[in-house]
């Protein structure tokens, strides 16, 4: 009963902003593309064709073709799928571990907090891209290693954000009340603390989702992404840069796609924060 009331208010606030509506359409399109790339892509993204090398964009090849005669539009569509899978999987890893660590250290405090926080600090000391680069270079580039690398890199962000949120609510009466009633600590963390920090969790998840896409793209650009010939958006941009004067479409169009995707997920994150985060509510 209470839940649906919240939901209604949430939706009403969310829809109030027309930008959110337009954005929602883009997000839906993205999700559709990620699930059914073969419906949209006109060609096999791996099919080479020596008769159509480096053709500029046309009606047969919307984004032109690359040096192997592969259709860049089809590669971009499958690239979106790959990038989304990687970003989502790595976000799930970092969200799970980061949230667990954050709530634990925030809830218990004391030496547990000290240990976890110092480890998190150590991770923060590295620029996230350098850390991901290091992990991928060490274990070799494969889709799995990439997911793990990006996943690890974003753990500290979740941990720190949720630690703060947990500390801010753990002294509130309803949490103390649950303790008095005799619930054990784990139950309190799961049933009382987490639901009350979930809005912050959702916002952190979406805003970092877009940075994860960027991280994946940067690694792909540097040649440490998904191994060829599988396309990813960053990989497409990276492969195109050597030809940027002779064949600019190879870089610009997939680059534009990255920009649109990151922007729309960021707008979604902002929209969610506006309605979920109490700090931003009027």
């Amino acid at each position: 009963m209470k839940g649906s009331k919240y939901m209604k208010r949430f939706l009403k606030n969310f829809i109030k902003n027309p930008l959110n509506m337009i954005n929602l359409i883009i997000i839906c399109a993205l999700i559709f593309v990620s699930f059914f790339p073969s419906v949209i892509a006109p060609y096999n993204p791996l099919e080479m064709d020596s008769r159509s090398i480096l053709e500029p964009p046309s009606f047969t090849h919307f984004f032109g073709t690359d040096q192997f005669g592969r259709d860049v539009f089809s590669r971009s569509i499958y690239g979106i799928q790959n990038s989304m899978i990687i970003a989502l999987s790595s976000m799930i890893i970092s969200a799970l571990l980061g949230t667990l660590l954050g709530i634990l250290s925030g809830y218990y405090g004391g030496w547990i907090d000290q240990v976890i926080s110092r480890i998190i600090d150590a991770f923060f000391a590295f620029p996230s891209l350098v850390l991901a680069l290091f992990i991928v270079a060490l274990f070799g580039s494969s889709t799995f290693n990439l997911i793990i690398a990006i996943g690890i890199v974003y753990i500290p962000i979740f941990a720190r954000t949720l630690r703060g949120a947990t500390i801010s609510i753990k002294e509130l009466t309803f949490v103390k009340a649950s303790k008095v009633v005799g619930k054990n600590n784990f139950k309190i963390m799961w049933t009382v603390v987490f639901p009350n920090v979930s809005s912050i969790f959702i916002v952190t998840f979406t805003t970092n989702f877009s940075t994860a896409i960027l991280t994946e793209a940067s690694l792909g650009f540097l040649g440490l992404g998904v191994p060829p010939p599988e396309p990813t958006l960053g990989g497409l941009v990276g492969q195109g840069t050597n030809f940027i004067i002779a064949a600019p479409w190879l870089t610009l169009l997939p680059g534009l796609l990255i920009a649109v995707i990151v922007l729309s997920i960021n707008i979604l994150g902002d929209g969610l924060r506006d309605v979920l985060d109490p700090k931003f509510q009027k």
């Binding site: 099919e47 040096q67 270079a137 580039s141 010939p229 050597n242």
Partner: protein
């Protein structure tokens, strides 16, 4: 009347052109990588060779067609297959003013063969028994194995350049300071930015070099290099990406292209299944379309090569001699079925993203998928690639091997059982026997027969698939004259380069 005037004009222009001063001026060159170390005896980086071959001289050098010609040695003789005698010039001076003597020549080779120095050239000269000074201008190399004809080309390598005995023994660090005899001397080296070479006024060929100064600007990015050329910031650039040439198609620029001796290859681990069966390897040779690889990866800037680069005369058999070079997927499939793989198989190609290895791997992957072979590309970091290559830890790999104008140098260590670069673990008694005979044979015709037979075996047995030799590419402003790229990618022709501004 008009005709006469135009004739006169042509004559005047021609006269003016010929009488044009060749001397003087500064040439700005955009290069990709800076030298790593400056000691000619021990450097291994291509980028160091390119600079040092203009600062130091060897006993011999290559001309534009890769023939050996005299340099510090004014002549050389091979009186018997185990003896080489050099007579050195009498008018060669180091940059610090000392005269080059036969002692310096002797010292240079002692230094190369000194294990503590760690010269990569030590391996070339491991078959040398003794080096003796016969008279103040003559030095004699005695060999343990009669293989003078294949050892001789090493005297033109940068690693064999003559250094000053006094200079080295005075405790100077040659990796940082240079004292050569070459046409240019290094006047400034700002790592990461530029290297300035100044004319050596006492160079032993009086009219050379023409230029007063060469400034090598280090510009790692391909696009920045070509933009620098178009903006007139540099006069000559290295072109690593053939497509760049499309943006330089204009009479304002000169393009230089030269097929190099190094060659791309797909190497197999001949001890791993299914590549332990030569039928499988040679079937792949027919399933790979080499021309398509050149078109897609190098935009046509390359030459299909057999075991020897077609320009290596008179040794090379051109690709049309080998039936295995014909692109014939159907036949490949039949042979695979005979070899016991009617439904294809799956294997990994080890690559790195340097030198377009990964791009070639992608084309090979796509071509082999047409005959039902599934290829997985392992893209690893360069250091890992080198270490796994050295340990033969691969099913197959794409790489670029340095070639040579002598078949013994090209083949012995690569295909002899247990050879230092035989990472394919290839072992064939007939090949071993031919290799050993080939390096000893002095009769040119017999030697050719040996290496012809060897080339046929290497293509048939296919421990590696020879793919293609890329072109080395340079582009310059139209006023740059006399520059010639060589098949070994050397830049020694900078001494004959001049500016017509």
């Amino acid at each position: 009347m008009k005709k006469i005037i135009s004739m006169l004009l042509i004559v005047i222009i021609a006269l003016f052109g010929f009488s044009k001063q060749k001397e003087g001026g500064t040439l700005l060159i955009g290069i990709e990588t800076e030298p790593i170390g400056l000691d000619p005896t021990i450097v291994t980086a291509f980028s160091s060779f390119r600079i040092l071959e203009n600062v130091y001289d060897g006993l011999l050098k290559f001309d534009e067609n890769m023939n050996l010609v005299p340099n510090i040695a004014e002549k050389y003789e091979i009186p018997s297959p185990d003896t080489i005698i050099f007579t050195i010039r009498n008018d060669v001076y180091f940059h610090n003013g000392e005269k080059l003597t036969i002692e310096d020549v002797l010292y240079t080779f002692e230094r190369i063969m000194d294990e503590k120095v760690g010269s990569p050239a030590a391996a070339y000269y491991s078959e040398i028994e003794s080096v003796q000074i016969l008279d103040p201008n003559t030095v004699c190399f005695k060999l343990k194995v009669p293989m003078a004809s294949s050892i001789i080309i090493n005297f033109a390598s940068v690693n064999s350049a003559i250094v000053s005995k006094k200079f080295v023994q005075s405790g100077k660090n040659l990796q940082l300071e240079t004292n050569g005899t070459g046409p240019f001397l290094i006047s400034e080296f700002v790592p990461g930015d530029h290297i300035t070479l100044k004319k050596n006024p006492n160079y032993f060929i009086p009219e050379q070099p023409y230029l007063d100064q060469i400034i090598f600007k280090i510009i790692p990015e391909e696009i920045s290099r070509s933009t620098a050329l178009r903006n007139g910031d540099v006069d000559l650039i290295e072109v690593k990406e053939p497509l760049t040439l499309r943006s330089l198609e204009s009479p304002k620029y000169k393009i230089y292209r030269q097929p190099v001796l190094s060659y791309y290859l797909l190497g197999f681990n001949t001890k791993r299944k299914p590549f332990d069966n030569y039928l499988v390897r040679s079937a792949l040779s027919m399933a790979i379309n080499r021309e398509e690889i050149i078109n897609m990866v190098a935009f046509g800037e390359g030459t299909i090569t057999g075991p020897l680069n077609p320009t290596v005369k008179p040794w090379a058999l051109t690709p049309d001699n080998f039936e295995e070079y014909e692109y014939n997927p159907e036949k490949a499939k039949r042979i695979l079925a005979e070899a016991g793989y009617p439904n294809g198989f799956e294997f990994n190609i080890l690559t790195s993203s340097r030198y377009s290895f990964d791009k070639i791997a992608q084309v090979v992957q796509s071509q082999l998928s047409r005959i039902g072979i599934k290829v997985n590309i392992e893209l690893v970091e360069w250091g890992i690639f080198i270490s796994r290559w050295g340990k033969s830890d691969f099913d197959s790999f794409i790489s670029l091997n340095a070639g040579s104008i002598d078949p013994d140098v090209q083949f012995y260590r690569t295909f002899h059982s247990g050879g230092s670069t035989n990472v394919f673990l290839y072992s064939n008694d007939i090949v071993d026997k031919l290799l050993e005979e080939g390096r000893k044979e002095i009769d040119m015709l017999k030697r050719m027969q040996i290496y012809n037979q060897l080339q046929y075996i290497l293509v048939k047995e296919a421990p590696v698939l020879f793919l293609y030799s890329p072109n080395v590419l340079y582009a310059s402003q139209s006023f740059v004259n006399g520059f010639k790229p060589l098949a070994n990618e050397s830049l020694i022709f900078l001494r004959e380069t001049w500016i017509d501004k």
